[in-house]
């Protein structure tokens, strides 16, 4: 799906084709593969094997890229650090990748602001999908002002109370300036973009506020004066006494400020800084041009701020993006957070699953039924990890369940499965699902031919076909192969043996199969990567 029906823009033709992606990975093999995969998606790819090099490229031309994909483990810089830098300086969506899918890592990625966390090996379909992050960010920014009416002050108070005496050293404020100005810049270009691309109300004309150093100083002073417990855009606005400034401007600025403070807070808690006003060497070289001026000004501010922000409690601030973003995004993040919380990959389990899988299929085999597999797009990574059966999140599962349409067998299965759905560990699944749920439920639904796998009861009727995002029409990846039943018993690990000489596609058997298989069963049988259905 190259063009989602938007008006073509001058920057590139037929969004998402031509999406400018920066890939950062120290593994040359992966870099080559990703480059090829992205090119196949008609994206414009730039590769980097070092994080520092990537940052340099990004800083050279701030609007040269639309999205960054980065590995987590890199020799010169931690992927999470890169993520932070990019988020602050360029405000680009960043996707993290790793072969390690441990919940804690994924959580870390999300907390640092990653739009997505992909597990290696990465499949084509996931890469095809990445444009949604770019789009989402733009829409979100476009609607930011609209959403600020329902501002979450509780979130602010919580944040403020939790220790920010180190938050305002010169560098942080400096970086904030940077962040604000780049966000603004992005909004400007995005606005133009929105208008051209969507041509509708999603692009709101916003006042162009220039948050100069003076203005920001006033802002910070106002915040200090009011006190964190009572701060709010209106009060700040009143105190600042800047006639042309609107409440929305202040609210949005406050939002960004909080975000940055919380990030710093986390850093500080980790580093256990004792004194205030500590320079962060990483951040300093960001903008050598104006740093001296800003630093001196910020030092002044620093003094003021620290006095004001000294808080008794140095508790760790757990800032979730859900605290202050658009309500829809709120749910997105929560769902994702929940999803990741519930997923505990355990590579050791794959052997077990494989055994179970063998057992699972043998009754089918004995009945002479033939399994149908799609070997085109192996969903290996999805089932590498074994999700524990812990999902309690009904709303999420319901949303996923709602994606399953089709034959009565499937829907009855799906509906009964609502309570016990385990999401596959793919983090991107959640994101994909949400976009698909909100935008195009019809497309996502997978037809499931119950006759094909007669022993659904075996799976305890919790078979759910997660859908990929709208880019692939139902007919697109329909390559199905009938596997000889005998192969199952000697299946080792990985693919079922495929009789390559005579596979054929019987359209009567299956319509379309999704990439993600969600199911739960009493014996906790898990479909591992050997079951390729895409």
């Amino acid at each position: 799906m190259d063009n989602n029906g938007c008006l073509p823009c001058t920057r590139r033709e037929g969004f998402p084709a031509g999406l400018r992606v920066l890939v950062v990975d120290d593994d040359p093999t992966w870099l080559k593969i990703l480059e090829k995969m992205l090119k196949k998606c008609s994206y414009q790819v730039t590769t980097c094997c070092l994080a520092t090099e990537a940052l340099k490229k990004l800083r050279e031309r701030k609007d040269a890229f639309d999205i960054v994909i980065s590995d987590v483990n890199m020799p010169d810089m931690n992927g999470f650090k890169l993520l932070e830098h990019v988020g602050l300086e360029m405000d680009l969506p960043v996707i993290m990748m790793s072969v390690d899918g441990e919940t804690s890592r994924v959580m870390k990625g999300v907390q640092h602001g990653a739009c997505d966390y992909l597990l290696k090996p990465i499949r084509m379909k996931e890469l095809r999908n990445i444009w949604q992050h770019v789009l989402r960010k733009r829409i979100h920014e476009g609607r930011e002002f609209e959403s600020l009416e329902g501002f979450d002050f509780e979130g602010i108070h919580h944040l403020m109370r939790n220790g920010q005496d180190q938050c305002c050293d010169d560098v942080s404020l400096f970086a904030l300036e940077d962040c604000i100005s780049s966000t603004r810049k992005r909004k400007d270009t995005d606005n133009k973009h929105d208008e051209r691309e969507f041509g509708d109300s999603s692009s709101t004309k916003k006042a162009r506020v220039v948050w100069s150093v003076d203005l920001h100083q006033k802002f910070v002073q106002a915040v200090n004066q009011i006190g964190f417990d009572k701060v709010g855009p209106k009060k700040i606005l009143d105190l600042m006494n800047v006639p042309w400034l609107t409440r929305e401007n202040v609210a949005s600025h406050l939002q960004k400020y909080r975000l940055y403070l919380s990030r710093l807070q986390k850093q500080r808690d980790q580093k256990k800084c004792s004194s205030s006003g500590i320079k962060n060497p990483d951040l300093n070289p960001k903008d050598p041009g104006s740093s001296s001026i800003k630093n001196s000004m910020n030092k002044q501010q620093n003094v003021v701020s620290i006095d004001g922000f000294r808080c008794p409690n140095n508790g760790l601030v757990q800032l979730h993006e859900s605290d202050f973003t658009v309500s829809e995004l709120n749910k997105t993040e929560q769902r994702r957070a929940l999803a990741t919380n519930n997923i505990i990959p355990d590579p050791n389990m794959t052997k077990v699953s494989q055994i179970v899988l063998n057992q699972t299929f043998s009754p089918l085999n004995s009945e002479g039924n033939i399994e149908v597999f799609d070997c085109t797009i192996p969903t290996q990574y999805t089932w590498n990890q074994v999700p524990k059966r812990k999902l309690q999140d009904d709303p999420k599962s319901q949303s996923i369940a709602s994606m399953v349409s089709s034959p009565s067998a499937a829907s009855s299965i799906a509906s009964s499965a609502v309570d016990n759905i385990i999401p596959v560990q793919s983090k991107s699944l959640m994101v994909n699902d949400q976009s698909s749920v909100t935008s195009n439920p019809g497309l996502k639904t997978q037809e499931f031919d119950a006759s094909l796998i007669p022993d659904l009861e075996f799976y305890q009727q919790n078979l759910l076909w997660g859908g990929e995002a709208a880019f692939s029409p139902l007919e697109e990846d329909l390559n199905f192969f009938l596997l000889q039943s005998e192969c199952y018993n000697d299946m080792n690990f990985g693919m079922h043996s495929i009789d390559m000489s005579d596979y054929y596609y019987d359209p009567g058997l299956i319509a379309d199969v999704p990439n993600h298989l969600l199911y739960d069963s009493a014996d906790y049988s898990v479909v591992d990567q050997s079951l390729f259905i895409a």
Binding site: N73, S98, V99, P378, N479, N492, F493, I498, M500
Partner: protein, 154 residues
């Protein structure tokens, strides 16, 4: 040997690689990525992997040879190798790496050394297998045939 025969041989050989777990689905992905723009894509990627893994294995050997082993570093290398091996679908290598990382966590030097040996073996094995496969492919192409897998858009 005529082309048809070679092709059947290729099919059987590939199939065996999957059954025996040397390769997994990722390898198929690579094959799919290969096209007219990059006719030797798979070979190139695989070569890259073996170059990289060779270096990694050397680093690992050195790291484990130290008087006082830095397990964090060893783990980092293994993690890297795990990622690399997953890129071409070298499943057995990858599984070895998983076990290796556990041993690193336990700081079990003997176990690590054994694992290292095993990883090296697996790398060697899969390398030989792939080389055989590629040779077969070359022969088929030279005889004017084409590789069955790609044609049938596996």
């Amino acid at each position: 040997m005529e082309v048809g025969q070679m092709q059947r041989q290729w099919i059987d050989y590939t199939r065996s690689l999957f059954i025996e777990g040397f390769l997994d689905a990722q390898f198929l992905q690579l094959e799919q990525l290969q096209d007219d723009n990059n006719p030797d894509f798979v070979v190139e990627v695989v070569s890259l992997f073996f170059q990289d893994s060779h270096k990694l294995l050397n680093d690992l050997t050195v790291a484990l040879d130290q008087k006082s082993v830095d397990f964090k570093m060893v783990d980092a290398h293994v993690h890297q190798l795990k990622g690399s091996s997953s890129s071409i679908g070298a499943q057995r290598v990858k599984n070895c790496c998983i076990a290796f990382r556990n041993l690193c966590e336990e700081q079990n030097i003997d176990g690590c050394l054994k694992c290292l040996h095993q990883v090296k073996q697996e790398c060697c094995l899969v390398k030989n297998k792939l080389e055989t496969l590629f040779r077969l492919e070359q022969q088929i192409m030279a005889a004017g045939g084409s590789i069955p897998l790609m044609e049938l858009s596996f």
